[in-house]
């Protein structure tokens, strides 16, 4: 246990890299998810086909395989070597972005048809309709699933230790080999991962509450920050309208 305490800075360094990868992955996958998700709702068949190909390809291949491809195959195919960190974020972002795009697409499609009809009768342009009416409603619908995806993304960052990046998993494995104290070393690593996940979940719940508030819905279990720590009750996706 003393060993673990003395190695605390290394754990923090590892955790910091994990957080950086997670945040980088969130940014990239969010942009991809929004872009391909919206593309998937366009009327014309061509953009829809492009979105479907992206989603099916990157949902179908494991992030680790994509990562290996970027790191080992790409330099041989093109002579262009990506930074390992960048390749990792790219692979994770492409993978989770594909899951996210499906969420965006189905949330947009779930916006009631009368809302769209209303924007047509108000003579709104596509951009106005999407920005002012469709997205704010779809956004509240997307967030709970995004919360799960963000945790999945954070967990998926652990594979980078197989390509030699010094993240939290790499540190844990390295310290295990150095000391042989498997249990304390891994318990600390697991606890740090758990902690990061809880923080991420908390942040998404805050966003969720804000999104619902903007739509004039209040959380069913009452306000207060403590209320956010409780998982939402099953079956009550949105609160009562005011």
């Amino acid at each position: 246990m003393e060993f673990v305490i003395s190695q605390w800075p290394r754990f923090l360094d590892g955790a910091w890299l994990t957080i950086q990868l997670t945040l980088g992955g969130i940014v990239l996958s969010f942009v991809l998810a929004m872009f391909f998700g919206i593309l998937g709702t366009v009327g014309h068949w061509l953009p829809r086909a492009v979105a479907t190909v992206y989603v099916e390809v990157f949902r179908g291949i494991a992030a680790l395989v994509v990562m290996y491809w970027f790191i080992y195959a790409l330099p041989l195919a093109t002579g262009f070597q990506l930074d390992d960190m960048f390749a990792a974020i790219l692979a994770l972002g492409l993978n989770l972005g594909a899951y996210g795009a499906e969420v965006v697409r189905s949330s947009i499609n779930a916006v009631p048809k009368a809302q769209i009809e209303a924007t047509v009768s108000l003579n709104m342009s596509w951009l106005q309709r999407t920005r002012l009416v469709v997205l704010p409603q779809a956004w509240a619908q997307m967030l709970p699933t995004f919360g799960n995806l963000v945790v999945e993304l954070m967990k998926a960052t652990a594979v980078v230790y197989l390509v030699g990046l010094h993240d939290l998993s790499w540190v844990a494995d390295d310290l295990r080999r150095l000391s042989g104290d498997t249990i304390p070393v891994f318990l600390v690593a697991f606890a740090l991962y758990y902690l990061v996940a809880q923080v991420l979940i908390f942040c998404v719940r805050l966003l969720e509450r804000r999104a619902n508030h903007k739509l004039g819905r209040t959380p069913p279990s009452g306000g207060g920050l403590i209320g956010l720590l409780r998982p939402p009750t099953v079956g009550t996706k949105v609160g009562m309208a005011k």
Binding site: L64, A77, M154, L168, S169, D173
Partner: protein, 214 residues
């Protein structure tokens, strides 16, 4: 580099890669069987007061920590006479049981209260209430959701590579480093993944239509 894929070469390495794919599929199927049975058990036992909350916390913990490091941890702790494949499959199964348990739970909670009351009124024993009334209705509703985890598991099997299971990605890595031809090997691995996961995704979408509509 002439052309992107060298078909003669990929033809040569195909038998090795398919051997790896076979291990990948085996690990997925056995792991999935563990996840389905263990998850169901957990979903039922979770209703026991104190023990259930402990179990719930443990499952939440398993679900929010990465599978790779769970694999490495168990592999380091396990006695040497277990093969990496066995350990990998068991850890994979337990990890996904944490997910399937939630799926089963939502199914069980979706069973109408009247069904429980009717079983009570007929004074059915607990085992019959679960086995003949609640579970058949609960499981039917969650079949598509369970199917999604089969695909998710399939895509997580490359992680078994971390503890030395020679599955598809490990074979590709070996072959690729032997011949220094990573482009062909890893591209074929990617394609093999698609060959398995896209048809499975289509199959599950069909299941969804069939069961959710009920």
């Amino acid at each position: 580099m002439s052309g992107f894929l060298d078909f003669e070469y990929t033809g040569q390495i195909m038998p090795d890669l398919l051997g790896g794919l076979q291990i990948t599929v085996q690990a997925t199927v056995i792991g999935y069987a563990i996840a389905l049975t263990l998850g169901l058990l957990i979903a039922v036992v979770r209703r026991v007061p104190v023990f259930g909350s402990l179990l719930h916390f443990l499952m939440e913990f398993i679900r929010t920590t990465p599978l790779v490091i769970q694999l490495v941890f168990v592999f380091a702790m396990a006695p040497a006479n277990f093969s990496p494949f066995t350990i990998g499959v068991v850890v994979l199964g337990i990890h996904y049981a944490a997910y399937t348990a939630e799926v089963y739970r939502s199914g069980i909670e979706g069973v109408a209260k009247g069904q429980w009351e009717a079983s009570r009124a007929l004074s059915l024993p607990t085992s019959r209430t679960w086995g003949a009334v609640v579970l058949p209705q609960a499981i039917r509703k969650v079949i598509p959701a369970l199917g999604n985890y089969l695909i998710a598991m399939f895509k997580d099997t490359p992680l078994l590579f971390a503890i030395g299971v020679v599955e598809l990605l490990a074979v590709a890595q070996q072959v690729g480093s032997r011949d220094f031809r990573y482009v062909d090997t890893f591209t074929v691995v990617g394609l093999l993944f698609l060959v398995v996961s896209i048809p499975s995704a289509i199959l599950i979408r069909r299941l969804e239509k069939r069961y959710v509509a009920v």
